[in-house]
Symmetry: D2
Subunit: 287 residues, 4 copies
């Protein structure tokens, strides 16, 4: 199984019908199809190649931040986040990736749409009519090749000062299917390995390595060229993967729009989950 | 032959060995492989699906504007342009494409690197120490979906005022092979159909439609997903094309860098061809 | 009177109380102060240094595209445009300025937010549920220093093909007061001289030079440093202008936000004026 | 003395001829004027309003990264840095400021031009022909309003992991003179207070607060409007400052170019100081 994908959903698709140690639950909500995969134990980990944890996948049409359909998607993400987030304490949001590489800019763009509130004290919040704000901070730690520092080191350094009760990580993902780029959102509680989908695995960011719960949110933006060809071939009933293709990752021609829209939906979903007393419109006006 | 490509070179590859009405000449120069295809007549047009004219293809490694290898490539483009350009008259450079879509931004980015001189009169040029400058103008006409105006209409409108002796058109192309994206430059004298490579054919821009010689320069930046899969499959000896894939164009994950570098090489190659009395360094300092 | 300003309102402020040949009318609408200055004849032209025509100025707080106050401002611009625009024929919108210079990017950014419809035929419009769309095209002609072509030449070339019944020109303006940067909108029917406010006057764009009515919309984004100092000095009762200051134009530190918001308000105001049967929300979803 | 400026040089200009506790040394090098101000003690601190330390100012024409004159300036910065930097240990470069606000983007843009090497191990460096590389890391910590975290907290968090022997901080500064924007570079060893020049003082970043030597490099990009007017007035012999002006910071109309060039010169000067065995050309090719 050398298919490159960061989606638990796609890993499970690749496994024969029954796999031990993995629970799977599917339903639809509006026009979104939601799948909840639980990797329960070592057996499950080996079966799907993902660590123990819950993986929620929200599939739909191309993400758009204009259409009412995306209110659905935003709400779905928001609801899942509310369930996963601790009730108390400050939350750190970290947008991973390189803002100079369009398909990798999902994280930084989402982070820049987060309403940071940790520096606003109670009095100021009341003066501004914001009431009882949850404390939130937001960073874009950059990428190892540009900073010289592992992302997990930067996050750990900041955690040591900010002491959040949980970290939300946003990152662009790799999928095995072109049709999932910009259409699918994965939320998980098992942490992530930045760059693992593009064959560039960095030190894990998870509760084990950072000491607080890590909620990861991602949208696939790239697919490996050989995986893509294999995907099309399997549809046609061919089974042998093309051994000689080039390891090049590809992205849709419309990737600028995909990133703009997906980051808009994610940042607003996170803002709504963290400040449930405010409407999306009020939150927009503050950023 | 429903393979999507804008490269005469690739069209010819798809045709059986001998094809009537097409001449082909290959040689290497430094680390660049140069192919000169001449479509001579109707027979040739039908064989390769490209209009009568000369198509020069310069292949190499990924375009980089840093390495000495790209001085070679810049010089190769510059030499071909000098051969194709009329000796006299003002030259209009038009960078086609949508600057908001990274893989389509090659044209506008190249145009913005052109040294426009048409507005600099002789006295000013001499005061600036520029000597006897060739008159050049440069525009980015935008795309039909954003302007509501066919590109050929905009170019014709401007030609009616500027009265150039030739037009240089720059546009991003589609290729059938991933390995040609950002590595290959095509120069032709037969005009172009903007968007034809992405299944979105606009009115032709050629000597026939604009009244002056049209020299087109392009670099492939996208490949059709099904063409890509077919390409990989053919490498494996499969012949049936995947009928069901989705018409989605893909581009490399590193497309931002590809566009930056390719547009840098092209604009400097054009500047050098138009102002041969100046060095690349002197030209850089003026833009 | 060597004060640099593109605002008729400010020119008039500089003139003693009564000036012949100029009519002036002021009122408020919501939180916006609207002034309508009519330059009636040669006497008026000499008095205020602006050509015969109507100049509508809409003043308020810093333009924001978030707050309800800007629905007011958008509506005010939209109403004035509806009054000035011909009832029939295709409309050409031209966003003047250099998109690489933040304070000069108002025109190109506004143009990129215009819904171009000229290429959408009746059948397609009906299929898309758009009904009876007014024909609109939108261009960003660039600046002389980058294109080598006078803006009026480019516009005339395009007019010769598109044959609009009127042209809407958007351009960044110079003001004499810091407090008007990003807060004031001027609409006029007398055409413009691009760059005149920054001491870089280009050929006039007016009904006289392009053959169809020209409606100009602008927002001040820059102020001459010496004008600014004089402005502050006059407030203090000083009268001698500082002769030795440097001719440098300055802009607020927050110019990126100013341009984003002002271009958002202007493009939506124009869209609403041209497609009054559609709501601002529906129009947003189409761009 | 309520003049807003971050330059020790300008603070000193405002003080009467002799001031106790301050040493001042001036010389020229090529076309650059270099001033070295030493604040020696409490008396000096009170006189010039800057903490004890050395402040080197390099003045010249508008910074350009094209002209040979900027090789001079780059070399001058590089030489001063070599003198101030510890001989051993890893160096952390932090580019302060908000990359979405053009005049505040000097820090992030400079950081993105730094060659980060901390993650390149000896073997890889030798394979790449880089020899014995100094360990360098580079970050853009963002701004409090967007992150919710004081810059000094982020830097301290990262220092706790990376353990540098010194930190280089880059930040945009405020000047009292328009003519110094984009023309002057200040290097100091006394740390900085981000935002102090724009009336938005954040916790100090200095050896006292971060535990390792802090070398600050800045270029003025903004001037307070009332300070600007006062500057022009003083030139005219007026002495009363305009009390009523608006606290608005202004920046030159050409600020995009100023930031591009200044960040290019600074990042290359830092790279050259940190990797003296490599030429500027070789360093350029690696970034």
């Amino acid at each position: 199984m050398n298919i490159r994908t960061d989606l638990a959903l796609e890993r499970r698709e690749l496994v024969n019908d029954e796999c031990q140690g993995v629970e799977c639950d599917e339903y639809t909500k509006g026009n979104a199809k939601i799948t909840r995969i639980k990797v329960l134990n070592k057996q499950g980990e080996e079966a799907v190649g993902k660590p123990i944890g819950t993986y929620i996948t929200i599939e739909g049409d191309l993400i758009s931040n204009e259409l009412p359909s995306d209110d659905n998607r935003r709400n779905a993400v928001s609801e899942e986040l509310k369930r996963l987030l601790p009730k108390d304490g400050t939350i750190l949001v970290a947008g991973l990736g390189n803002s100079d590489i369009t398909p990798d800019a999902l994280g930084p763009k989402t982070a820049s749409g987060i309403l940071a509130t940790r520096h606003i004290d109670k009095d100021l919040a009341e003066t501004l009519g914001l009431g009882n704000l949850r404390s939130v901070s937001a960073i874009s730690p950059g990428v190892l090749g540009k900073t010289g520092i592992e992302t997990v080191e930067i996050i750990n350094g900041i955690i040591s000062r900010v002491k959040p009760s949980a970290v939300i990580i946003i990152d662009a993902l790799a999928s095995r299917r072109l049709s999932r780029l910009g259409t699918t959102i994965q939320i998980s509680d098992s942490g992530i390995c930045p760059g693992s989908g593009v064959g560039n695995s960095r030190s894990e960011i998870s509760e084990k390595t950072v000491g607080v719960p890590v909620i990861a949110i991602g949208v696939p933006t790239v697919v490996d060229a050989s995986t893509l060809a294999e995907d099309i071939m399997q549809i046609k009933g061919e089974n042998t993967p093309p051994a000689d293709s080039i390891g090049m990752m590809v992205t849709p021609r419309e990737i600028d729009t995909v990133i703009d829209r997906a980051s808009g939906v994610l940042s607003m979903a996170i803002n709504c989950a963290l400040h449930p007393q405010m409407s999306a419109e009020d939150l927009s006006a503050l950023i």
